[in-house]
Symmetry: C2
DNA sequence: ACCTGAACACCGTTCAAGT
DNA sequence: ACCTGAACACCGTTCAAGT
């Protein structure tokens, strides 16, 4: 969430770079070359300044990454027309968050910020908590339900992003892909019969995108009276 | 999973350090000082050798971290007596994985290895997939169900571990804690009424450990015929 | 086969000083 | 107030050589 910059004092040396410029340039670097390539030194160079100048606008690299996440959320989260049925409102809001995050897998490094990714996401959290309450949960259980949905969503993003990263830097002659294959090929069907049974389909099955199915299951489970 | 070391050739210089020693020393460093402090250089020093000697026993740091995860899984995963009811078998197996991972939060950096954390975990995956099949799911849906449970579990670990890390290195005068507080204090009750309603309880509610409740909800949802 | 020394190509951050 | 230069205290990994 871009804070309104403090009212500019007229004293002192005029700034040459702004926090907005720092964030915007960082975003460009990350989009072009990935989050690994974002270093304070490179950022300074691209902005035409020195590493130390950056520390005047952000506290440290961690804060820069959080600002980047905020920036991304504010830029890509679009509020859908909420469906009439509360259960569907929950699904739609969670899917919107998921979609925004899935679009930038580098976010994984930052994402894992407790329960709230950004002020821009509050409206979506509201939809989820409200939907759960409308479906009959107490506010307390609704907050816990929101967290279960968030764990599921964050887990999906993190697991998928890491798997993709591994595949990418394992190269074409993927030695990592064969690790799982080797394990599955060596399964003892007596000890692990179900896994042996599905072994051949494991790769295609896990390649399917089942986020939405799983989300519906999580929501259904939360709404089942127990 | 410690591979049986290849049969030792009798030619060439005898090894001074072993892969096992490398992993064991790395584990000690991580336990004592955290995963951030595990560097190839320090590991070499503590083992009484040089950084380059390590590269003779592990391909690179990433592989070392995977070995560490395997080691941890093999060491801490204990197979519970599976309950008679398949639904409870699923819960018990997932909880065991969760417990093993929650005990070493540094694992987050590595954890996010696709769908399979370690060969030692296969038995637990078997319990979950089998339980889902016993409850009436097709093998295909059971694999997808396992993944939903894994996403939820991995998400819980990652989110909680990162939150804890943030709290730890924010220090006592936590500036980060007040970020959420500030956002919740500034909530517009007209726009976000539910969040405004639960704002005061958000911190205690999210501090509760609701992994098991959420897991039960996920499993219930997967078993609801849809 | 296993290990070493030296080097390459970097990091994030701090300090003291300049404008 | 804002920016710079130089330095601190590190990284992971590669290369060429030694035993």
């Amino acid at each position: 969430m871009p804070q309104p910059s403090a009212p500019r004092k007229t004293r002192g040396r005029p700034p040459r770079i702004s926090r907005e410029e720092v964030v915007a340039t960082a975003r460009r670097i990350v989009d072009e070359d990935g989050v690994d390539r974002l270093t304070m030194r490179r950022l300074a160079t691209e902005i035409g300044s020195t590493p130390m100048a950056l520390y005047h606008h952000v506290r440290n690299k961690e804060e820069l990454l959080l600002l980047l996440l905020d920036d991304h959320a504010a830029r890509t989260l679009r509020r859908p027309e909420p469906p009439a049925h509360p259960r569907e409102r929950i699904i739609v809001a969670a899917s919107a968050i998921h979609e925004a995050l899935a679009a930038c897998p580098w976010i994984v490094e930052v994402l894992t910020a407790d329960d709230l990714m950004s002020a821009s996401a509050l409206w979506f959290v509201e939809q989820i908590v409200d939907g759960l309450v409308e479906c009959g949960l107490t506010p307390e259980r609704a907050v816990h339900g929101y967290r279960a949905i968030w764990y599921y969503t964050a887990g999906e993003i993190v697991v998928r992003a890491t798997a993709a990263r591994r595949r990418a830097d394992a190269g074409p002659d993927a030695d990592r892909a064969t690790y799982r294959e080797r394990i599955f090929a060596d399964l003892d069907p007596d000890e692990l019969p179900r896994l042996a049974q599905v072994a051949d389909n494991w790769a295609p099955l896990t390649a399917e995108d089942t986020y939405l199915d799983g989300l519906r299951a999580v929501v259904d489970g939360l709404l089942v009276s127990r």
